[in-house]
Amino acid sequence: MGLEERRDEEPDVYQPAEDSHLLAEATCERLEGDELVLEVGTGSGYVAGRIADRTDARVIASDLNPHAVRQARGAGVETVRADLVSPFRDATFDAVAFNPPYLPTDPENEWDDWMEHALSGGEDGRAVIDPFLERVGRVLASDGVVYLLVSSLTGVDEVVEEAGEHGFSAVAVADESFPFETLTVLELLR
């Protein structure tokens, strides 16, 4: 089934696109063994499923959206309905991957459905990224790593700076350019 057909089938769930693919591949390449991995905002479950298939890691996927967690579980992914990392124990995950909602959106144009939640990062594009960066450190193991997808539309420098505020240093480990944006996967380490 092609991506277009799947989009039609699940209108309430963000379906895998170029950003999902870039995050999945970058994360798979950098995992080494039987890590415990969390994917936040899994949507269709594509990224979590790729990591589980291609590596020996155990992958847990979370999403706020009830339609998304059902689709991800249907795809064979271990799934939890959650707000970011709030129901996960301290110092638990070796890696956390996140393809966040990142499109800067005019508040006048917010359309308030599940797809908007999956895409919109509020006025500056960082309405979800910033609280994620504030909270993710709690659930990371001491040498844990974050893989965060960021778009040039959101501002990579601003995200790197915010990550720094929470004790992370950032390295770009993958990027891909498109006509209207460049996508970057940041590896965040403490």
Partner: protein, 64 residues
Amino acid sequence: MNESLLDILCCPLDKHDLELEDAEYDDDDVVGGDLVCTECGEAYPIEDGIPNLLPPDMREETPA
């Protein structure tokens, strides 16, 4: 959900441990029941095998 998830999950409000109550199983898979906080007593439902660990004030938020 796999029961071993209990070692990974905690109460989203106070981060204390959760206990599985009234579990319904399909083979090894926990498909129903509640995850109950050992500290504050808040119960989080397992819906079609997926634990709903949203804080109670977010549980009813369904934009569409």
